[in-house]
């Protein structure tokens, strides 16, 4: 029983971390339909900037805010320079964002050097609680809470405002949305910036979790985020949350019970979901 609880809690925490990763992509890829391969770059920048602010100020909170700010600024630059010319064209998006991904990753090395950098859990979040054989790691609990907060905030915004609808409408027919009096370019810009901020936030939260940041960290995690967005259902926050937790739990159980398949677990999960539910688990509908 303790074992099951342990596996579940850890799976949940990993899932939440993956959700945070995927949440930005849910906006950018799921909602805005931009195949942003530079997402991992934004994530890595968030991690580096966050750790930098954190080390400089000694406050993890400032680190987090610094990361979010970096995400917002980078999101602004990325949208204006890279994404604006290629809305609606997936083929061009792949090329230009992959190029930008290379630039972002290498620039990290220019700024902070090519070596990995240690990231520590702030003392008030370090350590764990033990209840018998059940071990609750504080930082993981923190991640779970942040995940739910992010989910709540964004779900609220999307439910209560027209933004989600406008973005989806804009993806289908940009001209028509403008003809209805909406400055869709600005909406896209803001949503993209929000997505980048989320990417950066997940980056800085990831850093102490694994204890290390490195320039190449982005790409692997971005693929995971794409997987989650697709199996969760494009543009659906509940979908992403559910899928992320599914991935987290599957990984946790699989590594314990069927270790031979643990390398393949994400891919298997995605294949199974897509074959039986080709549109993903949820849809963007309210």
């Amino acid at each position: 029983m303790e074992l099951l609880i342990n596996l579940t809690v850890n799976g949940l925490a990993t899932g939440m971390l993956i959700f945070l990763l995927a949440s930005g992509l849910t906006l950018i890829f799921g909602l805005m339909s931009v195949l942003n391969f530079a997402h991992g770059g934004l994530f890595a920048w968030g991690a580096y900037a966050g750790v930098w602010f954190y080390t400089l100020s000694g406050s993890f909170l400032i680190g987090i805010l610094g990361a979010i700010l970096t995400g917002i600024i980078l999101g602004f630059i990325t949208e204006k320079l890279i994404i604006t010319p290629v809305y609606g064209n997936h083929v061009q998006q792949i090329l230009i964002t992959l190029g930008f991904m290379l630039v972002l990753t290498e620039l990290l090395k220019v700024v902070w050097g090519p070596n990995q950098i240690a990231a520590r859990v702030p003392s008030y979040l370090a350590g764990s609680w033990e209840f018998g054989d059940v071990l609750i790691i504080k930082y993981r609990l923190f991640i779970i809470i942040v995940g739910f907060v992010v989910f709540g905030v964004f779900q609220y915004i999307l439910q209560r405002t027209k933004i989600g609808l406008i973005v989806r409408a804009g993806v289908m027919d940009k001209d028509m949305v403008q003809a209805l009096g909406i400055n869709i370019k600005r909406v896209f810009l803001y949503v993209f910036m929000a997505g980048s901020a989320l990417a950066a936030l997940s980056g800085v939260l990831m850093a102490p979790y694994s204890g290390v940041i490195y320039a190449e960290m982005g790409f692997e995690f971005a693929i995971l985020a794409f997987i989650v967005v697709v199996i969760g259902g494009m543009g659906s926050f509940p979908g992403s949350l559910f899928a992320a937790i599914l991935v987290g739990l599957a990984g946790s159980y699989m590594a314990y019970y069927v270790p031979a398949l643990s390398l393949a677990v994400n891919m298997l999960l995605m294949a199974i979901v897509l074959i039986f539910r080709p549109q993903g688990l949820f849809t963007a509908k309210g």
Binding site: K162, L165, I166, R168, A169, M172, D173, D175, M176, V177, Q178, A179, L180, G181, I182, N183, I184, A284, K285
Partner: protein, 235 residues
């Protein structure tokens, strides 16, 4: 009567094509102006140019005394122009409700009153309130497109072929609605159904090959057999 919209000798290029080659007309407040012309004449492009979707390379569009020729589309729309495009422009993955919600510029009581009015006009929309726009029938889409434009308090409405695909009885309702709207709104209409056009139109502009070739009072046109035969193939 005051001129609300004035289109002066506009030329529009799409890609390397010179589509509009001199369109001029005006729409006076409280009137229905009809654009007529055969397929491919440039009627739709004229409306799009007014909306800023295919901006004019030459000429001016004056709305309410202001030059809106080079303004971005959303500014033009927010200035009080509603648009019902010819291909309806329904957001297929959004429900009828969501389509309406996106369209509603200001969510005040007046807007909801207008919404109630259009829903009475097109009860089908009420029935299918939660249905995806993409799953509506052709005529229902047309209704939704109009409802989206009617729900806002616009000074000017640009309507591209509203009667297309509608059952005769609904066409009649649309005509009533337009006549009703006329009290508060100016309307520019593109319409192939000459019976409808002639019944609700106050004046007309005839477009051929991207140019204005004729304009005047609708009442005149009804009796001008020659123009009707030459440009409209009727009579």
């Amino acid at each position: 009567m005051k001129t609300l919209l004035k289109v002066e000798d506009i030329h529009t290029h799409i890609g390397q094509y010179h589509i509009l080659q001199g369109i001029s007309f005006e729409a006076r407040e409280g009137e229905v102006s009809v654009l007529l012309g055969r397929n491919g004449a440039g009627k739709t492009t004229t409306l799009k140019t007014i909306m800023g979707l295919t901006p004019a390379s030459k000429g001016t569009v004056l709305f309410n005394g202001q030059d809106i020729t080079k303004k971005p589309t959303y500014t033009i729309a927010n200035g009080g122009i509603g648009y019902v495009p010819e291909d309806q422009g329904i957001f297929g993955d959004l429900t009828v409700e969501e389509n309406m919600k996106v369209a509603m510029r200001k969510e005040d009581d007046a807007a909801f009153a207008r919404q109630d009015y259009v829903l009475e006009l097109f009860p089908d929309l009420k029935t299918f309130w939660k249905k995806d726009g993409g799953h509506l029938s052709g005529g229902q889409k047309q209704m939704l497109a109009m409802a989206r434009a009617f729900v806002n308090d616009s000074k000017l409405l640009l309507i591209d072929e509203p009667s297309k695909g509608l059952a005769p009885i609904v066409v009649e309702k649309v005509m009533e609605a337009i006549t009703e709207m006329k009290k508060s709104t100016t309307i520019v209409l593109v319409e192939q159904n000459f019976i409808m056009a002639s019944r609700i139109g106050d004046r007309y502009t005839l477009i051929d090959d991207g140019e204005t070739v004729h304009a005047g009072e609708m009442a005149e046109l009804i009796h001008n057999e020659e123009v009707k035969r030459k440009y409209l193939g009727i009579g």
